[in-house]
Amino acid sequence: MTFDYYPGCTLKTKAKELDIHARSAAEALGIKLEELTDWQCCGAVYPMAKDEIATRLSSVRALAASRDNGRDLLTLCSACHHVIKRVNNDMQTDEEIRTKVNNYMSPETEYHGETKVVHYLEMLRDTIGFDTIRQRAVKPLTGKKIGAYYGCLLLRPNKVMAFDNPENPTVLEDFIRALGAEPVIYPYRNECCGGYISLENNELSAKKCDQITVSALENKADMLITACPLCMYNLDANTNSEHKTKLPIVYFTELLAQVLDI
C-alpha cells in the first residue's frame, strides 16, 4: 500500500530520527511512503480564530494534492497531524472557511475535505496490525518497561482526531506490547508538556515536564517514547540530568526500527 507522506519541517531538522526510522520501518513492513512534492510547513499551531484563513492554506494545499493523487495522507509529527486533521475537518464542516479558502486558492477542483488523514501509528495499528509487528520483531524488547508519552496534541480534540480515548488511550501501549516490551501506565502520560509556552515561561513548562518524568519513574518506567518533536524538545531540555540518565526519551519509530533490526 502507498501513502502520500507529509513529514513536516521539524522532521527535516531537529527530529530527523523520527523521520528516518519511520521511513525505513515502513519500507520493511511493505508500506510505501511517497513524500508529497512541494509541501509547505503546516504552521505548527492550529489557528483557533475562525476568520484566520492564511494559516490554513498550507494544510489545504497538502490535503488537496493528496486528493488529486488519490491517496490517503500520512503524517507523523503530532503537531502536523493535529493541524492538518483539524483543518481538514474545517474544510468538511465549516462552510464559511471552505468557501473562503477555495475562493482564495481557486483550485481546478474545489477542495471539500475529501482526503483521509492518517497518523503513522494509525497505519501501524489499522493497516499493518500490531500482531504482524509482533511476528516480524527480530529483536524484541523483552523485559523492558516502557512508558508511552502521548502529550496533548495527538488525541485531542477527540471528536475531530477520532484516534483513541484521549483520557485513557491504548494505542502506544499496544504498540509497546507488539515490540515485546511491557507498557507502564502512569497517570500523566496524556498531560501537556507545556508546548510552546516554554519559549515564554520556561519555568511552567519545566514544572509540567518534571511532573511527567517523576510520575513515569515512580511507576518504574525504564524509558519514555513519544511521537511529538515538541514534547521531545521540552522533556529533553527541562528534565534534570539525574532523571535523564534513568529515563531516556526516544521517538517511537526509533524503537520500531531497532526491533525490526533495520
Partner: protein, 661 residues
C-alpha cells in the same frame, strides 16, 4: 348544504399583530357554505363564547370554524360552547392561526395569506363533516404502579387511600428504590430509612395494595380504563408464602462472593440474600448466577437449614395477567456509567467513588458501619474533593446535556455531614454553578460553605492522577484565575442521573412517548405535567425528569389524584373518530390488521350477494372500543375501504384541494 359560521380570534395581539383579521373575515364570507363570518378579541372568553352561541342560533348554523390557537388549547372549549347552542360537538373545526401562523411568521402579508388558506381549509373540511356520537366504555377500578421506589409507593398509597385497588410491580426483590440506599436527606438531614421504611410498611400492610416484587411487566394491551397487563414474576427460588424471613439461609450460604447491589458493590453478599435489613417483603431470593447448587448441582445447604422448608430450587418464572383502569409509571433513575470520564480515574482508583457509593459508606448499615474510610486501605481520609456535574450539563457528547438537579444539594449535604462528624477532614467542592432553588435549599448550601468551612471552588476538574497512594486533583479556580492542585485522599463524583433502562421498553409497550434522554414525556410541560400523552398512563417521579424527594412525592400524589379521578368514573366517553371498514370495497388483504398498533382489527368471513350469486368473502372489521383513531389503517388500505370517522379520505382531499387552490 351546510350553514357555516366562521369566528376569527385576535388573541389580543398574539394573532392580530401579525395577521390582518379583517382580510380573513372578509375572505371567509366568500367561501362556499359560509353564512356568517365575524371576529372578536378573545374568542375563548365568556363574551366570545356567547357570541358563538348567539350566532349559531341566530343564523341557524350547522357547523362552525374557529380561527384561533392550537386545538390542543381550546378545541374542547369551543366544542362545549357549540354543544350548549344545540350543535353536534363534532361540527366544530379549529384553524390554528396562532402557533401555526402568527407566532412563526414575521411578515404580515405572508401571515395573513396563510391564515386565509388555513381558514378556508377548515371550511372545506367542515362542509363534509357529519355529526358524530361518542360511545362509552367501562372503567376497571384497579391501578397498576410500575416501580416501587418512593414515587411508586406514594402514588400507590394515595390511590389506595381513596379506596381503589393498586398493584405495585417492582423489578428488584424489595420495594424502596434508590431512596432506601440514601443515608440522610436534604435539607433537614433526617435519615432516609427513618422516613421511608414506615411508608414501605404502610404500603405492604394496606388492604388495597398488592406488592408484586421481583417482577417485571411483560406486555400491555388495551386502552384507558381497560388495560390488560401481563406481569412476569421472576423465580425467587423461595416460597414467599411460607418463608418467615429468619435469614438463617443467608448466613449459612457458602457462596459469598457476589457484589452487594444495595451497597453499590462496596462489599459482598451471599448467593441467597435479602437486599437489606428492612427489605419488604422480607423474603430472600437466590441469585442463580452465584448459587453453587444452580452452578454445580451440589450444595443445597440453604434448603437443609431452612426451618420452614421454603427453599424451592425448581421454581419457574410465572406470568400473571391482570386488568387495570390506569397505569402509573414510576420507574426512577440510575447513575450513569463513567466509562466516558476516564480523566477522573474512577476505574483506576478505588478511592474515587460516586456520590451514591458515599451514601452507603456514610450509612450506619453500610459496608463500613458508617465510618468514613478510604476503600483502598480502610484508612481515615484527611482531604476530600467533591466534583459536581460529572456527566451533567455536558456539551461534549460524553455525558448528558441536562442538569441532574439533585447533585448540588446532596453534595452540600455530604460536605456538611463530613465536616460535622470529622472536623479534621478538609473538604473541597468543584462546581460549575451551585443551583439551590427550593425551600430552605440556599440556606442549607450557605451553611455548608459559611458555617462548616467547606471550600467551594468555581471550576472543573481536568484530571485525577493516582500518585503514591494519593489522588492528585488538578482543576481550575475560575474566580482566582489559576490552576489548583489538591492532594486528596478521596474523590467523590456527583454523577449524572439517567432514566432506568426499563423506561424505553415500557414506553413501547404503553405507546407512551419518551424524549431523547429516555425521560417520559408529559402531556403538557406546564399544564399536564403528571399525565403521559397516552390516555390512562400517568407519570410519577424521576422517570419524567430529574427531581428530588419532596418534588417526587408531590408529583406522585398529583399522579394519584389523576388516577383517582379516572377510576371514580363508571363509564368513559370514547372518541367517536374511529376507523370503519366499507365491507363492499375490502379485498381482505390484511394490511390494516398488520399496521394497527392496538390490535383493533379482526377479519371475518361474510356472505355477499354478487351478481345474483352468494359468495363468501373475508373482510375487515374494526373493534371501535379498542380503536384509537390513529388512521394508520386508512393509509395502507389499497382499495380505500378503510376510513376514519371525522377524518375521511374525502375530507382530507377537500382540505388538500383548499390548500392548493
Amino acid at each position: 348544504m351546510q350553514r357555516i359560521g366562521v369566528f376569527v380570534c385576535w388573541c389580543g395581539t398574539n394573532i392580530a399583530a401579525t395577521v390582518d383579521i379583517d382580510t380573513v373575515v372578509e375572505a371567509m364570507k366568500r367561501e362556499p357554505g359560509v353564512v356568517h363570518s365575524s371576529d372578536y378579541q378573545y374568542m375563548c372568553s365568556e363574551a366570545g363564547q356567547s357570541r358563538i352561541r348567539n350566532a349559531i342560533k341566530e343564523h341557524n348554523l350547522t357547523g362552525i370554524v374557529v380561527c384561533a390557537c392550537s386545538p390542543r388549547m381550546h378545541e374542547t372549549t369551543f366544542r362545549k360552547a357549540a354543544k350548549a347552542a344545540g350543535l353536534n360537538e363534532f361540527m366544530v373545526e379549529i384553524a390554528n392561526i396562532r402557533e401555526h401562523c402568527a407566532w412563526i411568521h414575521k411578515d404580515r402579508t405572508e401571515a395573513t395569506e396563510k391564515a386565509v388558506v388555513l381558514a378556508r381549509t377548515a371550511v372545506a373540511k367542515l362542509n363534509l363533516n357529519k355529526p358524530l356520537t361518542p360511545g362509552t366504555s367501562d372503567v376497571v377500578k384497579r391501578a397498576l404502579v410500575i416501580g416501587g421506589g418512593i414515587a411508586g409507593i406514594q402514588s400507590a398509597l394515595d390511590i389506595a387511600e381513596a379506596g381503589y385497588q393498586v398493584d405495585i410491580v417492582e423489578k428488584e426483590p424489595t420495594i424502596g428504590g434508590k431512596m432506601a440506599q440514601l443515608d440522610k436527606t436534604f435539607p433537614t438531614l433526617d435519615c432516609a430509612a427513618c422516613i421511608l421504611t414506615p411508608k414501605m410498611v404502610e404500603a405492604a400492610q394496606h388492604d388495597n395494595i398488592n406488592l408484586i416484587t421481583y417482577s417485571e411487566v411483560d406486555s400491555v394491551s388495551g386502552f384507558v380504563g381497560n388495560f390488560t397487563v401481563k406481569i412476569r414474576k421472576k423465580a425467587r427460588s423461595v416460597k414467599a408464602d411460607i418463608c418467615s424471613g429468619c435469614g438463617i439461609c443467608t448466613e449459612k450460604c457458602p457462596s459469598k462472593k457476589a457484589k452487594s447491589e444495595f451497597n453499590m458493590g462496596l462489599n459482598n453478599r451471599s448467593a441467597i440474600y435479602i437486599p437489606f435489613a428492612q427489605a419488604i417483603p422480607n423474603v430472600p431470593v437466590i441469585d442463580r448466577d452465584q448459587c453453587i447448587k444452580f452452578k454445580t448441582g451440589k450444595c443445597g445447604l440453604c434448603a437443609k437449614v431452612c426451618p420452614a422448608d421454603a427453599i424451592d430450587f425448581s421454581q419457574q418464572d410465572e406470568i400473571i395477567e391482570q386488568k387495570y383502569g390506569a397505569v402509573v409509571l414510576a420507574t426512577g433513575f440510575k447513575p450513569i456509567k463513567l466509562d466516558n470520564f476516564d480523566e477522573y480515574s474512577y476505574a483506576a482508583s478505588q478511592d474515587v467513588i460516586t456520590s451514591l457509593e458515599l451514601e452507603r459508606i456514610m450509612n450506619a448499615a453500610g459496608p463500613t458501619g458508617g465510618k468514613l474510610l478510604r476503600p483502598s486501605d480502610k484508612k481515615h481520609p484527611h482531604t476530600m474533593v467533591f466534583v459536581q456535574c460529572v456527566g451533567s450539563r455536558d456539551t461534549t457528547g460524553c455525558g448528558k446535556t441536562y442538569c441532574s438537579k439533585i447533585c448540588c444539594m446532596y453534595t452540600a449535604k455530604h460536605a456538611m455531614l463530613i465536616r460535622e462528624k470529622y472536623p479534621d477532614i478538609d473538604v473541597h467542592v468543584f462546581y460549575i454553578d451551585v443551583r439551590t432553588p427550593g425551600k430552605n435549599f440556599d440556606e442549607f448550601y450557605r451553611r455548608a460553605a459559611e458555617d462548616y468551612g467547606v471550600n467551594y471552588i468555581k471550576g472543573m476538574v481536568g484530571k485525577v492522577a493516582p500518585t503514591n497512594g494519593k489522588l492528585m486533583v488538578q482543576g481550575s479556580d475560575l474566580i482566582a484565575d489559576r490552576q489548583v492542585i489538591i492532594e486528596a485522599d478521596m474523590v467523590v463524583l456527583a454523577t449524572a442521573i439517567e432514566p432506568d433502562q426499563t423506561a424505553k421498553s415500557l414506553a413501547t409497550m404503553l405507546t407512551a412517548s419518551i424524549d431523547t434522554n429516555n425521560f417520559f414525556t408529559e402531556a403538557h410541560p406546564k399544564l399536564r405535567p403528571v399525565e403521559s400523552p397516552t390516555a390512562g398512563v400517568f407519570l410519577s417521579g424521576v422517570c419524567q425528569g430529574p427531581k428530588d424527594i419532596p418534588e417526587t412525592v408531590a408529583q406522585a400524589s398529583a399522579a394519584a389524584v389523576k388516577v383517582v379521578g379516572l377510576l371514580s368514573k363508571d363509564k368513559l366517553v370514547s372518541n367517536p373518530c374511529v376507523a370503519g371498514s366499507n365491507e363492499l370495497l375490502c379485498n381482505g388483504c390484511s394490511n390494516c390488521q398488520h399496521v394497527c398498533p392496538y390490535g383493533a382489527i379482526d377479519y371475518v368471513e361474510k356472505e355477499f350477494r354478487i351478481n345474483g350469486k352468494i359468495k363468501i368473502r373475508r373482510v375487515a372489521q374494526v373493534n371501535e372500543a379498542v380503536c384509537q383513531g390513529c388512521g394508520a389503517c386508512t393509509v395502507v388500505c389499497p382499495s380505500g375501504a378503510m376510513d376514519l370517522k371525522g377524518f375521511t379520505n374525502q375530507q382530507i382531499m377537500a382540505e388538500v384541494d383548499a390548500i392548493c387552490r
